[in-house]
């Protein structure tokens, strides 16, 4: 049986957040080597907050006050196996740290080397990273009281108005069984769909269930469909040159209702037919890449149908068009 790949991708979003009147100065301070707390309700809280935790009343940047750089650990955990999101690759502590001059504890990381170096009530002190960008990760803590070396703040850097956080999650899993059969079929030159046990309609590519009738489908429902079909809709894409764009020329992206299928296959790219002659109802045939040159790596559990990695092109069959009226149940 032809081997197929496992799913392995990282979904990332770069978040840029405005900082506002309290968090902005706090992050500016971290970038410039100072930690700020905020006087509110008769105490100093750090990290500073935009509202009084007890009353919800807005706080004022006038009440920001420098705290630390040393403080006392009020609680901690030793991270034996850091995740990819943690600030250190080696084991370290996350701790609640009540900085000198503050009345509440701030969560942060302590690079202590060994769990035995950690204890509740111990003293820790800030260290500012050489590269700082106005984020909470500009600083970390180490055991002791020794003040950090002076930080050279860039006088022209301005205040931190936004802070960036690239978030991401790595997804790793096998292709679901019905997706693996679909991908394997493409490698072997066959397009597999699934016939619903509820109404006999053929879904391609299948989601593993019939959404209309709410019925799961298994290998016993697999059927092979033709590599010939009818255009049901299309658009011409003029590639905008965004970062990472690989396309330079306009091309057609269309949906095709394959013969003997009841659902359309979307995302079919056509580059060998002019848009002036392209039309709904046109009959097309898929010209496969030679076996061994087909690539289904774009197929995932969540997306990916008849991927461009398996065909050379789609070409007109020369048959008469199908009456578009007969395709009106397939707007996509």
């Amino acid at each position: 049986m032809t081997a197929v790949h496992d799913v392995d991708f990282t979904l990332e979003y770069p978040y840029t957040r405005s900082t506002g009147p309290i968090v902005g100065p706090w992050l500016t301070g971290l970038r410039d080597g100072r930690i700020l707390g905020l006087r509110v309700g008769g105490r100093v809280v750090c990290p500073p907050v935009e509202y009084d935790p007890d009353t919800g009343v807005s706080t004022s940047p006038d009440d920001l006050t420098e705290v630390g750089p040393a403080g006392t650990v009020t609680a901690w955990t030793w991270v034996c196996a850091p995740t990819s999101k943690h600030p250190f690759a080696q084991p370290f502590a996350f701790a609640q740290i009540r900085l000198d001059g503050a009345d509440t504890a701030m969560l942060h990381a302590v690079d202590a080397g060994d769990m035995a170096a950690m204890s509740t009530g111990m003293r820790v002190v800030a260290r500012f990273r050489p590269e700082r960008r106005g984020a909470v990760t500009d600083v970390y803590f180490v055991p002791g009281d020794e003040p950090p070396p002076p930080v050279e703040a860039d006088p022209d850097a301005g205040s931190v108005e936004t802070t960036e956080h690239l978030i991401g999650v790595r997804i790793r899993e096998p292709l679901f069984p019905f997706r693996a059969r679909f991908a394997r079929g493409l490698l072997e030159g066959r397009i597999l769909g699934q016939r619903s046990p509820a109404d006999g309609k053929v879904h391609v590519p299948s989601r593993g269930y019939d959404a209309l009738n709410r019925v799961a489908m298994g290998p016993e429902h697999d059927v092979e469909v033709a590599d010939v079909g009818t255009v049901t809709s299309f658009t011409e894409i003029a590639p905008i040159q965004y970062h990472g764009q690989t396309e330079t020329e306009p091309w057609i992206r269309c949906s095709v209702l394959l013969d003997s299928a009841d659902t359309t296959v979307g995302g079919i790219d056509v580059r060998h037919i002019g848009v002036e002659e392209f039309r709904v109802g046109m009959r097309l045939r898929m010209v496969w890449k030679p076996e061994g040159e087909r690539d289904v790596s774009a197929i995932e559990n969540r997306w990916g149908g008849i991927t461009g990695g398996v065909y050379e092109r789609w070409e007109p069959t020369g048959e008469p068009d199908v009456d578009p009226e007969l395709l009106k149940d397939h707007p996509f």
Partner: protein
């Protein structure tokens, strides 16, 4: 709401319209389910329709709780509607929270009075990713999330706080795990089914993970789904002989800055419990001194199903709810026995309701939690007919 209950919220539960859980369903907590989340949901919905005799279009309102970040796909929750049935078009809502919060919205929705039945689903697949690398995003986005400070890490800090305050020991954590695993062994839906008793001493011999927590102190993320149908009183009587009445649901939130919280206690659970007329303010959550044996709005709890994803949380929750030994805690094994993230809280309601429906309990509280270190807590008070 009755004036009497408004004036003494701690003494009796508010007077809500009668709404009951009429059917429940859950999948096993799979360590890994290699198929679409829709299949898991479909399985639950099939069970619900079969047990009530309802057809899909006999349900007025549908709502789900799930997490797109966990699914690794924007708008995954829309795809999930396929599992509940999107045709004919449904009246549908979604919360990006555990299914217990979907139940809260459904319960509120039925109180409007224009619809009689609601289906509630919670679902998630955690296995494709490291859930810790998702849920740190719940934390404050400026001061905490960029540190990757995930719920397990904050749980470690909370556990340390308990130890430092003299309120618990690592042995106490291990005892929670041992008891949960023993109970989970009898639960066919559990993920962790110990072949025999787990000794506290053996658990304590395991290495630390987020010290002072060990790996077994943390509920193992699982793939799974759960669902319930709730109905207004008259409709509930038509659909089941054993309705389980929802006497109240209360949801309370604490600061997202853990430094502003007392991590050794749960102020939000205490407030929610008092609002529902249970907990220490009502004279204890069980049959102990001060409890009203008739359960007339005060205590008399038989069962508490608690959303304990880290062993030490059970100790905090028992204290905040005032549970004495007469109350059975997590007889299902709880989340430490199986934690299908985004369904785990709803499953607490299901486990409690199932015990009432089967006559093994008369009054129970189900607890769901969200956010790190019990930041958000929801209590659902359930009762049988008598």
């Amino acid at each position: 709401m009755a004036a009497a209950s408004a004036s003494s919220a701690a003494a009796s539960a508010p007077d809500f319209p009668d709404i009951a859980v009429v059917a429940t369903a859950q999948t096993p907590a799979h360590a890994r389910y290699d198929g679409p989340e829709v299949h898991l949901i479909m399985d639950c919905v099939d069970q619900l329709l079969a047990s009530t005799g309802l057809s899909r279009d006999g349900i007025d309102f549908t709502i789900a709780g799930s997490c797109d970040y966990l699914s690794g796909m924007p708008f995954a929750f829309v795809t999930n509607v396929d599992g509940m049935g999107a045709w004919p078009p449904v009246y549908e809502s979604h919360v990006e929270m555990d299914g217990a919060w979907a139940l809260f919205e459904a319960w509120l929705r039925l109180q409007v009075g224009d619809v009689d039945t609601a289906m509630v689903v919670g679902s998630g697949r955690s296995s494709p990713c490291n859930a810790r690398e998702v849920f740190h995003l719940q934390a404050d986005p400026y001061a905490v999330a960029p540190l990757g400070l995930d719920p397990d890490a904050l749980a470690g800090i909370q556990a340390r706080s308990l130890i430092d305050a003299g309120l618990a020991s690592e042995s106490d954590f291990a005892a929670v795990v041992a008891r949960s695993r023993a109970a989970a062994a009898a639960n066919p839906m559990a993920q962790v089914q110990a072949s025999g008793a787990v000794a506290v001493a053996d658990l304590l011999a395991e290495p630390y993970d987020m010290a002072p927590l060990r790996a077994h102190d943390v509920a193992p993320p699982a793939d799974g789904a759960a669902a319930v149908i709730i109905a207004t009183a008259e409709r509930a009587r038509e659909l089941t002989d054993r309705p389980v009445w929802i006497r109240g649901i209360d949801h309370r939130i604490e600061s997202h800055h853990p430094g502003l919280r007392d991590l050794t206690d749960s102020a939000s659970v205490r407030t929610a419990a008092a609002t529902l007329g249970i907990g220490p303010a009502a004279g204890g959550g069980g049959g102990g001194e001060g409890a009203d044996p008739d359960g007339g709005g005060t205590a008399g709890l038989d069962v508490a199903e608690l959303h304990v994803t880290h062993a030490h949380e059970e100790i905090i929750l028992r204290s905040a709810l005032g549970l004495d030994d007469s109350v059975e805690v997590n007889p299902s094994g709880g989340p430490l026995g199986g934690n299908p993230v985004m369904a785990t809280g709803l499953i607490r309601v299901i486990e409690a309701a199932d015990r009432i429906a089967s006559g093994r309990a008369r009054r129970a509280v189900a607890h769901a939690s969200s956010g790190p270190a019990l930041q958000q807590n929801l209590l659902c008070l359930l009762e049988g007919d008598g």
